[in-house]
Symmetry: C2
Subunit: 160 residues, 2 copies
DNA sequence: GTTGACACAACAACCTTTTTGCAATAATTT
DNA sequence: AAATTATTGCAAAAAGGTTGTTGTGTCAAC
């Protein structure tokens, strides 16, 4: 783990303690371990992946707890669920506005940071949505898959 | 069903026949029924919701078939899976570029059409992604939920 | 039309992901 | 340190999605 990540994790843990105090939530070893794991990785893990990574290290940690704690973190604003077309939830500790590229073939997710994307115009149309945030999802092929995969169909953008 | 929708469904069916012919796929009653249902609704249904809607009308239609046919439609460019933070796949028949607003509370999804969003700058950064398409996901509260739900946390954008 | 090759759907069974109720346990408050 | 309260772990099951086999439907050549 590089220094930058260590600082990020430490700051996250500090924030967690603060949020837990405010909301009268206990500071448990499980919450600490789950947040620490999520914050220190650069991928966008599912609940199960986090469970797999730390189940040995925390005394008898259960899958149920991981699911529950991650949901709590999202409520507390300590983590986000990312938008993807997959049939499972992926999480990340970076709650600052940013964007993603998702590989259509291997489902890899890469973070994209861009000032111009952060400042797109939020439409004020007739949907009456109270918009809190947004994120741009790019889809395509990652560098690993782009060469090996032959595209199945030609893009239809512009048609009916 | 209004006239606009009827035209859209008819055009989709025509396109399906064309694509099926090209790819040597059979024109089955099930595929027709599933496409017809998907194209005629304005929500963003899951495979199970489509199954529930048409299982009585098509002779002994199975859930499995709905899952498989929807996947085929995505391959053929006749439908899209939408990006959402939910742990299930949602589909839509509109494959033209557009965007979505997702309610954090009830998970409702609303389409957003906007020229300026369609033409944002695609970042050409170091991720080496071969980008095919993109979509902006707005998150917040829909008009139904905005009044009834008290927000649990204050947005953290701009913090660590 | 009939026929035949091939693709497709139904069914059941199974896997994966996520949720729930409840007793036991750990964290905070006093 | 005891009381109070929140939280976890376990088992069970609900959602959501996938796979193999066998019989049926589709489509194109005659």
């Amino acid at each position: 783990m590089d220094e930058k990540t260590e600082i990020f994790v430490a700051e996250k843990l500090r924030l967690m303690k603060e949020r837990c105090r405010i909301h009268k939530l206990s500071l448990t070893a499980q919450r600490r371990a789950i947040l620490e794991n999520l914050a220190s990785r650069k991928d966008h893990p599912t609940a199960d992946q986090i469970y797999g990574a730390i189940q040995g290290r925390v005394n008898g940690l259960s899958r149920t707890t991981v699911y529950r704690v991650l949901e709590t973190f999202v409520q507390l604003g300590l983590a986000s669920k990312i938008c993807s077309p997959e049939a499972k939830s992926r999480f990340e500790a970076d709650t600052k506005r940013h964007h993603h590229a998702v590989c259509n073939h291997c489902e890899a997710v890469v973070d994209i940071y861009s000032d111009s994307l952060d400042n797109i115009d939020i439409p004020v149309d007739g949907t009456c949505f109270d918009i809190h945030d947004f994120s741009v999802s790019f889809t395509g092929l990652c560098s690993n898959c782009r060469d090996t995969v032959k595209r199945v169909h030609i893009s239809d953008k512009g048609e009916a």
